[in-house]
Amino acid sequence: MRAAPYLLSLPALLLFGAVVIVPLVMTVLLSFHDWGQYKGIEPVFVLKNWHEVLTDSYFLEMFWRTFRIAFLVTLLTALFGAPEAYILNRMKSPWRGLFLLVILGPLLISVVARTLGWALLFGGSSGVVNKALASMGLISAPLPFMFTETGVVVALAHVLMPYMVLAVWAALQRLDTQVENAAVALGAGPLTVLRRIVLPQIMPGILSGAVIVFALAASAFATPAIIGGRRLKVASTLAYDEFLNTLNWPLGAAVAVLLLVALVSIVVGTSRLVERRYAQVFS
């Protein structure tokens, strides 16, 4: 009965193939098709789209922007999320659960709603924050937030923060408080304990959180679409526009596949590196 395990996983494999593999292969194939304003999509094999995506400086800049935003978002979530998780972990019983809920609660609300909240606060001269600051005479023009890279980075960092907090939180649960006591007894001050003892131990958690946040930020659609709009395109909003506005599906497909390949190689590469670095210590 060697076949039983395979037969049992067949339905799941079929579903996986139908909803993931087939559309993916079709997208890859699509990226090699030709397209013209009047002739539409022609199912032939050309490298035109790939040539365009890889050589046109417009696409190069757009991909560079996508990964720059993703990197900055990752940095922000690490800088704020890791201390947040640490403080949360040191809280006493009723508060800890409450604040964990506050931090994770946004996950229960749609990304669109959360992003629109930022638009309400900073959207032009009618944004709540802009209005308040202007009425106090602190600013004369609305703060540059909408359609800027800063705006996209801040909004994405907010949207993706829970993933970093969760990853670091999980790493903190494995810490032995006696280890911190041992360092204190050997003469380490609170900052030294944090830097030399706690941080290195939760580093794998921060790095795995970073991989998740980076992947989600680089492929995010809703937030860049709302905050960045047409003026500040990233890879996913560009692919969307090629598909639904220009109707140049093959070019959109090439953008999408390139984003996928770049992301997979970055994520896999980083995970490998992290695993090798910490294999001796934590396994």
Partner: protein, 308 residues
Amino acid sequence: MSFLELQGLTKRFGTHVAVDGLSLTVEKGEFVSLLGPSGCGKTTTLQLIAGFVEPTAGAIRLEGRDLLAVKPARRGLGIVFQSYALFPHMTVAENVAFGLEMQGVAAAERARRVGETLDLVGLAAFSGRFPRQMSGGQQQRVALARALVIKPQILLLDEPLSNLDAKLREEMQIELRQIQRSLGTTTILVTHDQGEAMALSDRLVVMNHGRAEQIGAPHEAYEGPATPFVASFLGKTNLVNGSTVRPEKIAFAADGLPGTVRTRIFQGSHWLYQVETAGGLVTVIRQNTGERMPAEGEAVHLTWAAAA
């Protein structure tokens, strides 16, 4: 003036009294064990000395100085934790060097002292390993080396051997005692194992419900227990005709208290008997001298010297 002095030390957690007015003096170079069942307050006492817990009342003085006024990081005590609490992301050498680094000892001197201390615990060949790559006994030695390398005024041991198997535990007891004697470090051991406490210490503090029931040399406490609790905690006892008698003090003889052997258990170096007498069940331990011993069901007579 004694070296370390605990005076009326008390710690309450809410309504629970963990340590209840404990007073104790420890001389320089002495090995003292805090012995008792779990929840007796022995670990809390250790944490009070280490400074991880603040006392509700009482004083701790080291060489006459108020230790409670000193931050835990400045007390300069060596601590070996039950879980060893090694730094998992550092090698053995880095673990041991940490305390010296905190004291600002120069790198060359640091390396020399780390090497010396690892030699002392027999781990010179393992300095590049990470804790996860070592056995429990080896990790225990690393923890000991890490505590000793800073030349602490007092070495605090929190159930250091309880995670080791019986054979290794015995070896480590002997080693620990040799190391402590050769360095002359004042040591306080917390343990629930009366054998370990008696084997290692100059003096015992038998604790129950946060109080010291008896403080004294191991054989003193064993032979002359101050309370029934101490008597039963330090070893097997018989209550015969209103007086407590240790099982190994009872001998088989031609006459004395008559009884019948219920069970006989061979334990290698000695025999363990349960003898039914008019005064109840009596436990008897006889050394295995190779002579013929009474069998189960045999009628015997028991004698013992009157309590000293």
